[in-house]
Amino acid sequence: MTYRHIGKDFTPPDIVSKVTGKAKYSEDFQVDGMVYARLLTSPMPHGKVKNIDLSEALAMEGVIGVLTADDVPPSQAPNPAILTNEPVYVGDPILAIAAVDEKTAEDAISKVRVELEPLPFTTSPTDSLRPGGPSARTEGNVFIQREMSQINWSDEDLQRFLDGKEPTGEAPTEWSFGDLEAGFDNATVVMEESFVTTGYAHMCMEPRSVLSYWQNGKCHVYGSTQSQSFVVPSLAEQLGIEQKDLVYVSEFCGGGFGSKIASYPVLALPGYFSKKLARPVMLRITREEEFYVGSARVGFQGWIKAGFKADGTVSAVDLYIVQDLGSQGTGGDASSAGGAVSILYQPDAMRLRAIPVLTNTTPRGAQRGPGQNQIAAIFEPMLDKAARELGIDPLEIRRVNAPDSSARINANQGPVTSAYMVEALDKGGELFNWKERKKRSGQRNGSKVTGIGVGQGYHSAGESGFDGLVRITPDGKIHLHSGVGNLGTYSYVSTTRAAAEVLNCSWENCVVEHGNSALHLPWSSYQAGSNTTFTHTRANYMAAQDMLTKIKEIAAVTLGGAADDYDVADERVFNTGDTTRSMSYAEVARRSIELGGRYSGAEMPDDIHQVTQRAVQGLAGSGLIGVAKDVLPVRGTVPGLAVAFAEIELDLETGKHEIIDYLAVAECGTVVHPQGLAGQLCGGAVWGFGMASLERHVYDPQNGLPANVGYYQCKPPTYLDVPREIQTAAVDIADPDNPMGARGIGEPAMGCATAAVLCALSDALGGHIFNRTPVTPDMIINHLAKQPQSYAKLAMNTF
C-alpha cells in the first residue's frame, strides 16, 4: 500500500530546537523566587534513622527549609519512598534542604547530623536466600503477588543452584505448557547451563531534575518522563491531588529507557517541598544521584535446560531465574524472559520458575527489553552451542525455530498478530552475506581471530484501548494532539501521521500539540514496551476516522447530500459526484463551532479516559474535534522482532574485540518512519553492545557501597566502542491488526545486538560461552590463559 505520510521521512517539529539548544529540559526552566534543593542520601545500605540534628544546618544564612520523610506520605514496601527514615540502599534519599543557592544547600547538607542504626543488608540474592541470610528490607526479602514476604532456601537447595544443578529451591512464580519430560525425551541434544546477567543502571543523559510550584491551587511540575499523559494519574496520586489540579510539563525528556515510564518519587518531591515553603523549588539531580534514584535493570542468576531435536528445533525448555530486584522492583523480567523464549524458539514444552529477591542496591525497574534482552544474551549463544553439536548452521537453527504468524506465545500459548521471522533472517542473511562471511569464522589474523554471530530479539510491541484526539481550527490548521511523551523516538509525532494520512492533509498544515498537559492532550499509553507505534497509530487513526466522519457529515449538512457522498483531498471535503460542492477544512472547522455538540467538543464519547475528557472540555468550541478510543480488534500479542548480524575481531592477547560489521533487520510490520526506525535499530545496537561487554553494576558485598556511580565507571559505549557504521534494514510486511500495518521495535533492537555480539565472541573462541553479561576483557584473558575466573559461581556482583 502506498501512503502519503507513513513510511516517509519528515522533520519532527522539535528537532530544530534540539540542535539549536532552545529545547527546554526540566532543569532549563527558571521561575521567580525559585529556591534550590539538594538531597541528603543514605551512606549505608540499610539502616534506621534514629535522630536527625538539623540545628546547625537550618541556622545557616540562606537556608530556606527542610523536607523530611515525615513531610511526605510513606511508601508501601518495596516501592521507593520520596524520602525515607529506613534507607534501603546507599544513596536512598533521607531528606532535602532548600536554600537560596545550591552551594548553600550543599553546605547545609554537610552540617546535618543523621544518626543511623545499621540494619542487616545484602547485595546478592543468593546471599539473602541462604538459611538465616540477611533480608534487604525489614518486611522481607521477596516481593510476590504485590506483597512482601520472606523466603529462605535450605543449604542444600542453595548449593544445588550454585553448583549448576537443577534448582529445587522455592520459586513462587511458575508457569508451564506442554509435556516437559516428553520434550527432553525427544531431544537429541540437551544443554544445561547456569547463567548470570548483571542489572546495570540506565544512566540517561539527562539527570531527572524537577521544578515545581503552586499557582491558583494547581501544582505545576516540570519533569523528565518518557510518557506525558500517562504520568498524570500516577503523579497526581503521589502528590495527593486531583488530576485536574496538576499541570505537567515534559516537552523534552533526555532519555528514559524504561526508567521514567510513569511518575517516580523524586518527581513528586519538589511538589511537596514547594507547598511547604510556598516557593518554587528546583531539585537538580546530579549524575551520582541519577545512579541512585535513576533505576537499573533487574539482574538474573539462573539455570536453563533446553532440548534440541536432530533438526535443531527446540523441544523443551526449563528455565529457572533468581531475580535481583535491588531495593525495589516488580520482577516482571523473569516472566518476560520466559515469554521471549516461548515465541522466539517455539518450544513444544516449557516451564518457567522464578523468584524475585530484594537486595540493598539501587532500585530496579524496566530497562529496554526487561527480561527479553537478558535471556537473549543467554539463550542465543546456547543455541549456537547446540547448533555446533548438531552440526547445524547458526542461521539455520534460528530459521527452523523462527516464529511465523501461526506462532504461539507465553504460558497460555496465545496467538500473535503476525510474525515474519524467517523473512527477517533470510533478508539479513542475504544482506550480510552470511554464507560467505561464515567461512571467515575462526580465521586468524595475527593475534586476532574473527567471530561471526547472529542474534534475535523480541518484545511485545503494542497495546490498545487508548485515545486519539485531533482538531481542526478555523484557520485550517490540523492540530494533532499527542499525549505521547517525547522520549527521543519521535513516536509522539510519527504516530500522529496516521491521522494526517486518514485526513489526507499536507504535513505543513499540521500542528502537533504535545509535552504539556495544559495543551489538552489525550490519554495515552505508557511510552515504553516498544508499544507506542502500534498503539498510537491506532488511536490516532481512530480519532482521525471520527473526524473524517464528522467532516463528511458537516459537508452533507452544509452542502446537501449524504455524508457518504463526500471524500477529502487537499484539505478539502468534496462531493464525489460534483467536486464543485466542496468546503475547505477551515470552513468545516468554522461550521463545526456553529453546529456544536459532538462536532465542537461540547459532547464527547463516553468511553474515553477522563484525561481525554478534560482535554476535550478544554478544547470545546475551538474547532472541529475528532476524538475516539481505540476499540479496534487485536487478535493476539503484538510481536516486535529483530535480527542482528555481527562480525567481530577478537584480540586473543588483550581480550578486546572490535565490531567490524553490524547489521540489524527489523520485523516490525510496516515502516512508519524510516529514519526513526534506523535510529532505534542503531540505538538499540549501542545498548546491546554495552550490555554484552561493557556495562556493569558493582557493589562491595562487605559494606554495600556501589563502585560505579559515574559514567566512566558504568562504561556506556562511546563512539569508539561501536562499529564504524551500522547497517539497518526492515522486513516491512504489514501487520493485519494495525491500520497502518505497524508494530513497535525499540527493545528487540537491543536484544538482537547483545546476542549477536556474544554469539560472535563465542564463535571467535571456538564455541566457548560465558553464560553471563557483560563479558569483559579480563574474563576472556582468564579463559584463554586457562586461569580460573575471578568471580565466584553465579556471582552477579562482578566487574
Binding site: 551512606p43 549505608m44 539502616g47 545499621p118
Partner: protein
C-alpha cells in the same frame, strides 16, 4: 589540643583514627623539659665524688643479658625512628623495616620474659614497698636495681607490652611474605588499636629519652658501661648498692 583523631568509617559514622600527632611535640618538649630541669638541679647540687672504677671488677650483667638489652634497645630505636620519621615528613620505605624490627623486639621481649621469670630472679626487678623509702632515706641503698631503675623497667614493660600487643594486631592487618592481610577487626576497634599503639609510642619516646639521658649522665655512666662490658667496680658497688642485698660475683 586533641588527644585522638577521628575519621568517618565506610558508612560515614565517626570512629577513632588514632592519636593526634600534635602530642608528639608535646612529648618531645616535655621530655626535654624534664631533662633540662634535671640538668639544672644537678648542676646546682654539689657534685658527689665519683667512686673509683679501679678495684675488683664485679659482674653486673651477664653477656646474654647485655646482648638482649642492646637488641631490644636497637630494635626499639629503629621502631621509633621508622615509625616517627614518616609522620614528621621524612619519606622512605619504612614499613618493612618497622615490622621486622617489631618482630625482633617481640621475640627479644618474649625471650627476656621467659628467661627472667624462670631462670633469673624476677623479684630483683620488682618494686617492693620498702624500696619506696629509697629516695628519702640516704642510708637505704638498693640491691641490684635502684628504685629508679625498677620504675623505668616497670614503665618500659607496660609500654612495650602495649606497643607490641597493638603492633601485632596491626601486623596481622598488613601483607607480609608470610601471610596476606586479615580483615578481622572492625573500623571502630581498629581505631582503638591505633590509639593504643600511638599512646604507647609516645610514652616510649619519653621513656627512651629519659633512659638515654640517665644512661649518659656522668654519675650513672658506669651502669651504661656495665651494660656494655658487664662489670662494675667494687667502689661503685659500695657507693650505690647495699652489698648485703646484692653481692655480685667477682670477675676472675
Amino acid at each position: 589540643m586533641e588527644i585522638v583523631q577521628h575519621k568517618n568509617d565506610i558508612w560515614g559514622q565517626e570512629v577513632l583514627l588514632g592519636v593526634s600527632w600534635d602530642l608528639l611535640w608535646l612529648v618531645v618538649v616535655a621530655s626535654f623539659a624534664v631533662i633540662i630541669v634535671h640538668l639544672l638541679v644537678m648542676a646546682l647540687r654539689k657534685r658527689a665524688e665519683q667512686p673509683a672504677t679501679e678495684g675488683t671488677r664485679l659482674n653486673r650483667h651477664a653477656k646474654s643479658d647485655r646482648i638482649f638489652h642492646w637488641v631490644m634497645a636497637i630494635s626499639t630505636l629503629v621502631l621509633l625512628f621508622t615509625g616517627i620519621l614518616p609522620i614528621i615528613g621524612v619519606k622512605f620505605g619504612w614499613l618493612t623495616i618497622h615490622w621486622i624490627s617489631g618482630i625482633v623486639l617481640t621475640a627479644s621481649v618474649l625471650f627476656h620474659i621467659v628467661r627472667a621469670l624462670f631462670w633469673q630472679d624476677p623479684l630483683s626487678m620488682w618494686v617492693a614497698p620498702k624500696d619506696l623509702r629509697e629516695p628519702f632515706d640516704s642510708s637505704q641503698k638498693p640491691g641490684k636495681y635502684s628504685l629508679a631503675q625498677k620504675g623505668m623497667h616497670l614503665a618500659m614493660t607496660l609500654v612495650v607490652l602495649v606497643v607490641i600487643g597493638s603492633g601485632l594486631v596491626m601486623l596481622s592487618l598488613i601483607d607480609t611474605p608470610f601471610w596476606t592481610r586479615g580483615a578481622w577487626l572492625g573500623e571502630g576497634a581498629l581505631g582503638w588499636v591505633f590509639v593504643l599503639h600511638g599512646l604507647s609510642t609516645l610514652a616510649l619516646i619519653a621513656l627512651s629519652a629519659l633512659h638515654i639521658y640517665f644512661g649518659v649522665r656522668p654519675e650513672k655512666l658506669f651502669y651504661t658501661r656495665s651494660m656494655i662490658k658487664g662489670w662494675i667496680s667494687e667502689p661503685e658497688l659500695e657507693a650505690h648498692h647495699d652489698p648485703a642485698r646484692w653481692m655480685p660475683d667477682k670477675i676472675v
